[in-house]
């Protein structure tokens, strides 16, 4: 994380398969030095109920109110949807990528739902194909 300056309050959890979350958060830190705004969640070996409990616990511990997940069909997304039923005000964004997390980390938008929506749009529009036959 950043070597100087005050420790920022985390704004979001990032959860996904294998080392997805740690990889993306480390990339955000490398690029913009704001990785501390994102909390990577590793779920390998956990059942769905334990993933749900882990997400709830980390939301409480960190004060984050946004959850980014990697795959809509993934167990992190399923667990996060269940968390949303119990914890008011949690925003879930499924299908996270690096441009999306960078946008979220760099914005000063105080409304996290607005920030998450903007980041999701950035993630969508940052996928491009260069070359190929079409």
């Amino acid at each position: 994380m950043s070597e100087s300056g005050p420790v920022a309050t985390p704004r979001a959890l990032v959860a996904g398969h294998a080392e997805f979350a740690a990889g993306l958060v480390s990339a955000v830190e490398l690029i913009c030095g704001r990785g501390e705004l994102l909390v990577p969640i590793r779920v390998t070996g956990l059942c769905g109920a334990d993933i749900e409990e882990l997400l709830k616990r980390r939301l409480v511990e960190t004060g984050a109110r946004v959850i980014f997940t990697d795959l809509q069909a993934g167990s992190c997304t399923m667990a996060a949807r269940r968390v949303q039923r119990e914890v008011a005000g949690v925003v879930l964004v499924a299908g996270a990528n690096l441009p999306m997390l960078l946008d979220f980390a760099m914005t000063n938008e105080p409304d996290l739902a607005v920030a998450a929506t903007s980041a999701a749009e950035k993630g969508r529009t940052s996928v491009n194909v260069f070359g190929g036959s079409t």
């Binding site: 398969h17 390998t44 070996g45 956990l46 059942c47 769905g48 334990d50 795959l71 809509q72 069909a73 993934g74 167990s75 997304t77 399923m78 949807r81 269940r82 039923r85």
Partner: protein
Amino acid sequence: MTLVLNRIDDRLIHGQVVVGWGQPLDVQFIVLVDDTVAESDWEQDLYRMAVPPEMEVRFHSTADAVRHLDAYRKEAAPGILVTGDIATMRALVAAGGVRDVNVGGIHHRVGRVQHLRYVFLTAAEQDALRELRMLGAVVTAQDVPAARAVPLDELLAAREVA
């Protein structure tokens, strides 16, 4: 085609099932057998959200699934049957004639011992898997198609440190 995979996975429908197995096997439907999910519209909507529009999910209680298994075996399209625990699969093996059981994911819980990266079992669950074999099922552990199918004896003998 028929039910091409009968899977025990406590995450039920998730990435490995939909993408890992579903795409290479061209799976058209998933049969989710779980007594709790079968009674909850909210849970069913949650699992439907996890699959692409062209893939159908059919929800059954354990007792209901037994009655439908023969029909699923006669379907023209390939499908996956998934249960969240060994006991539910046992009922399908005993009464429904399921003959191949894939242990795809039984994850960490207090009292369980880790056998593979994705399989943790209590002593009772080890016995329950042996019972599936005694009932006539071939039991192997395999999380994704590219992995090796681990035979039951090897699974039970294996120990991993998390």
